[in-house]
């Protein structure tokens, strides 16, 4: 694998038809680079949940995957409403999604917990009214594979 590989995608807010395309392209990139499937699956959960958050809550944003021989870093940035209480948002089952979003099968309050479970490190910087930067990493060496 090259020493440094980066892909970035713009995600449109409220576009449920295209939602998941960025995550799929990141997954395909990881497979192309020879990343083992237990790790690419963990990465897929992180990117897909982050992408859905951009679509559902943030009015869109950017999602970027950076791959080095040591680790995969996934960053999702938006200029959305921000997360007022991060501790609460990290709790399983807590959700602020609308009924419309829930009817589509989202908004179960598992998004951020799913991201955390599949990350080796997770940082979320969020400011109400300004936006959110989520940075998750997966280490390649000694990685645990599926987190089940």
């Amino acid at each position: 694998m090259d020493s440094h590989y980066e892909v970035e995608f713009t995600v449109r807010g409220d576009d449920f038809l295209a939602a998941g395309e960025a995550s799929n392209q990141i997954k395909e990139t990881l497979i192309m680079l020879g990343v083992p499937s237990p790790i690419s699956r963990r990465a897929s959960v992180i990117t897909y949940e982050a992408e859905m958050n951009l679509v559902i809550h943030s009015g869109g944003g950017q999602i970027r995957a950076t791959i080095t021989p040591e680790k995969l870093t996934i960053q999702a940035c938006d200029e959305g409403p921000g997360i007022p209480d991060l501790q609460q948002a990290m709790r399983e089952g807590f959700s602020t999604a609308s009924d419309r979003v829930r009817e589509m099968g989202f908004g179960a309050g598992m998004g951020l917990p799913n991201i955390k479970r599949n990350s080796d490190t997770l940082d979320i910087l969020s400011e109400v009214g300004k936006g959110t930067i989520l940075t998750a990493t997966i280490l390649f060496h000694g990685a645990a594979g599926d987190r089940r």
Binding site: F16, L17, A19, G20, S23, N24, K27, S37, R41, S44, V45, Y48, E49, M52, E92, M104, G105, F106, A108, G109, M110, G111, P113, N114, R117, D146, R148
Partner: protein, 121 residues
């Protein structure tokens, strides 16, 4: 068991992927109408049962390396979902039975559940 065996035991209609019935091997099934629960608890290689019909269910399955989806309660997936499934080669089926009955038959036929891990508070 072969996908063909699972599909025949629930009498589901094949919407797409006839050619994969003999090729795909499944050991587990997972049933949910919540995407994030699928992402949290479904195992790769699992047969997914759902009442959701939008394109995101195919995306979710794709992310988790889920090989096939059964729509229960006679619900038919939206056209975009069928198109995406065709483009990625994911077989789709429709069961006219309820989620409970469809799951029950598959369990009886020998498909194991995906075990939900104990979680820290």
């Amino acid at each position: 068991m072969k996908l063909k065996e699972a599909i025949s035991c629930i009498g589901a209609e094949t919407l797409f992927g006839e050619d994969q019935l003999d090729r795909v091997e499944i050991e587990n099934a997972y049933a949910s109408d919540l995407m994030s629960d699928v992402l949290a608890f479904a195992w790769p290689g699992t047969l997914l049962l759902t009442g959701l019909t939008n394109v995101q269910i195919v995306r979710t399955a794709q992310m988790m390396d889920i090989p096939a989806v059964v729509f229960v309660r006679g619900k038919r997936p939206q056209e975009e979902a069928i198109m995406l499934a065709k483009s990625v080669g994911m077989p789709l089926f429709v069961s006219s039975m309820s989620m409970y009955e469809t799951c029950g038959l598959l369990y009886k036929a020998g498909l194991s559940p995906c075990i939900i891990p104990q979680r820290e508070e």
